[in-house]
């Protein structure tokens, strides 16, 4: 094992090839990436550049066609299905592209699921705490159809953090939701990151990417740029900004009268 102190993810020459109608699609074309414990990495790139494919690989949901991927020093291709399931369950919290809650099931039950599959006790208390953490303490029994887009995404985040994983993977967590809700989600991520949780997040919005500490750019299955974020945005400040009552013309009139 060449796992350095603090090295969480190690990708080397990762290749992922899909065959589509006899045509070879190189979704990942020789990706090298190291992520240390405590990092907050934003991955950007146009649609089809391989971001989701890489996230699935990192999340142990998919295996590369070739190349080496190590998580916590363990070579993922050496693990069997049950071991992969266990890593997904304990080490990784996944927030998917789109809202991936189980339908007709309450927020609480959705959040309890990872604990259930992890055979843990006191699931209710832990799930409640996770939901409170994302600000949904008063929505425990709501099903996904009774929640707004931002709320559903926060339930998904609660589910991702409930088993206290060291790594959170989020694929377009702010797609299709309002700016304020996006900032609230970024705030949760930044707080988690401050607590030491490593975060890898895919986004195609620069404003969202700038909440991370490091930004990786992808094109056609390759990493083309990898830099620290210079002017990092803090969600807490952004939210204060957004909530600041802006005087409308009506109010001006009222004051004047």
């Amino acid at each position: 094992m060449d796992a350095k102190e603090g090295l969480l993810l190690r990708l080397r020459d990762i290749l992922k090839i899909y065959i589509m109608g006899g045509q070879e699609v190189r979704a990942l074309d020789g990706v090298d990436l190291d992520v240390n414990v405590g990092e907050f990495v934003s991955i950007m790139g146009p649609s089809g550049s391989g971001k989701s494919t890489m996230m699935n690989m990192i999340g142990c949901l998919d295996v590369p066609t070739s190349g080496s991927y190590q998580i916590d020093g363990a070579e993922v291709s050496d693990l069997d299905d049950d071991e992969l399931a266990s890593i997904r369950n304990r080490k990784i919290g996944f927030v998917f592209q789109g809202f991936n809650l189980i339908a007709r099931t309450s927020a609480l039950e959705n959040v309890e699921l990872p604990l259930l599959y992890g055979r843990q006790k006191d699931r209710r208390a832990a799930a409640t705490a996770a939901l409170v953490r994302v600000g949904l303490g008063d929505r425990l029994d709501h099903t996904s159809s009774e929640l707004s887009g931002g709320q559903q995404q926060r339930v998904a985040i609660a589910r991702a953090i409930v088993s206290k994983p060291r790594l959170i993977l989020a694929d377009e967590p702010t797609g299709n939701i309002s700016t304020l809700q996006s900032e609230e989600i970024m705030q949760i991520f930044q707080e988690l990151n401050d607590d030491g949780v490593t975060i890898v997040m895919v986004t195609h919005e620069l404003d969202i990417a700038k909440h991370g500490k490091r930004c990786v750019d992808m094109r056609d299955g390759k990493i083309v740029d990898d830099q620290p974020v210079a002017d990092r945005l803090l969600a807490k400040e952004m939210i204060e900004e957004l909530k600041k009552p802006r005087p409308t013309s009506k109010q001006v009139v009222a004051v004047g009268a």
């Binding site: 189980i102 259930l116 088993s163």
Partner: protein
């Protein structure tokens, strides 16, 4: 994950689609209900046969007419009477006289259809002409009054003993006591001397209580106008002597009827013993049970296929859910168990419902349909076990399909 958790997950999924769950359950419950009914009817029929045979008296041999063409040729050979009844009263008497060591009693029987009347009431019934030996030989008894005597029999008197159905047809009351009254049999008055004890179950759908028993020669001469008898029953001295008695009777009748070999092809009569009768009834019951069992098995299979269908549909519909579950750490085994538990719950609940339906159905058949249906606890347990197995058997394929899904493909599924 423990079985309890799989159970909770399954219950939640089933609850979230109540209509579909109910319909699938119905498929299984019909199958189970049919099975229980079939077993109940089968056991009822077997018991009826056993009761019947027990009710026929022990050590019983019955001599019947042989095939029709045999009787005609034999009749042409013996006498010019053209009678189709080759068995005669003398045959019966000779059997009794010649073999006192093996044969205890003989009851000749001549049967026919008659009109009976009492005041305004009219009914069709069957007449049975016999001798006082009939009671002992056929294990019958008289509930009121008495059977006619040998004297009355030999004097060709117009006396009769009534079965309960015949009495009911005349008076509207099966327990009516008509002793001492005259009833009209084919426009001729007969004195009722006794009432028969109700027998209840009969052979081949005939009611054994719809009968008017009169002296045998009265029946032959006055009522039916025949020279031969229909059949006669023989009571042997002991069960061990039945084979010997059967041989003796057979050779005597061959001799008396001037029959030529080959035997038994040329016999114009048939000697049946209880075991034959029992075997014959049992084979009929068995055929019926086999047929009904086939129906039950088919309906269970149809129910099972229903479960498989619904589960396959459910797996397809919930592909994304399966993807999510796998992504957050469910092992293939967890998914397999979840769907298998769902299928089992459907089938077990369906089975319980079917047991209920089946038992109610059997009770209804017994009380209104006049069937003898017996629901045994074993049948209920078997039905439940079978329905659970059906659920597991037909649920395994959909569950495996769900478990083997690739998480990414499942998540990408639209």
């Amino acid at each position: 994950m423990g079985i309890l958790e799989y159970f909770r997950l399954a219950i939640r999924a089933l609850k979230s689609n109540k209509m579909r769950t109910a319909l699938t359950m119905l498929g299984i419950s019909i199958g189970v209900a049919v099975t229980i009914l079939v077993v109940a009817i089968g056991e009822g029929a077997t018991k009826s046969v056993a009761d019947q045979v027990n009710g026929m008296g022990t050590n019983l041999l019955t001599v019947h007419q042989g095939p029709r063409e045999m009787r005609l040729t034999a009749a042409a050979r013996t006498a010019p009477t053209q009678s189709q009844n080759t068995l005669t009263l003398d045959d019966a008497d000779m059997v009794m006289k010649l073999y006192p060591d093996t044969i205890a009693a003989v009851a000749p029987q001549v049967r026919g259809s008659i009109q009976i009347r009492l005041f305004g009431a009219n009914a069709t019934s069957s007449v049975l002409g016999t001798t006082p030996s009939y009671l002992a030989v056929n294990n019958q008894s008289v509930r009121k009054g008495r059977f006619f005597t040998s004297m009355e029999n030999e004097s060709n008197l117009k006396v009769c003993v009534l079965g309960s159905t015949a009495a009911e047809n005349l008076t509207g009351n099966a327990n009516a006591d008509l002793t001492g009254q005259n009833i009209s049999v084919n426009r001729d008055d007969y004195l009722v001397v006794g009432m028969l004890t109700t027998k209840g179950t009969g052979q081949g759908g005939q009611d054994p209580d719809d009968v008017v028993i009169i002296p045998v020669s009265t029946a032959m001469q006055r009522v039916l106008g025949v020279t031969g008898i229909s059949d006669f029953s023989i009571s042997c001295v002991s069960p061990e002597l039945m084979t010997l008695a059967q041989q003796e009777v057979t050779s005597l009748l061959r001799q008396r009827h001037h029959l030529q070999p080959p035997f038994p092809q040329n016999d114009d009569f048939r000697v049946a013993n209880q075991t034959d009768l029992l075997a014959r009834s049992e084979s009929v019951t068995k055929t019926m049970t086999t047929l009904l069992t086939a129906v039950a098995v088919i309906s269970l299979i149809v129910g099972g296929i229903g479960i498989m269908n619904v589960m396959l549909m459910s797996v397809k519909e919930r592909t994304r859910e399966i993807g999510i579950r796998k992504a957050i750490g469910a092992r293939s085994r967890d998914i397999l168990m979840q769907f298998l538990t769902e299928a089992s719950i459907i089938s077990i609940l369906g089975g319980l419902q079917g047991v209920l339906l089946g038992v109610v159905g059997a009770l209804l058949l017994a009380s209104f349909g006049g069937w003898n249906a017996i629901v045994s606890p074993t049948a209920l347990v078997i039905a439940l076990v079978v329905s659970a197995s059906v659920g597991i058997f037909f649920g395994i394929h959909p569950a495996q399909k769900a478990a083997s899904m690739h998480p990414i493909d499942a998540l990408r599924y639209e």
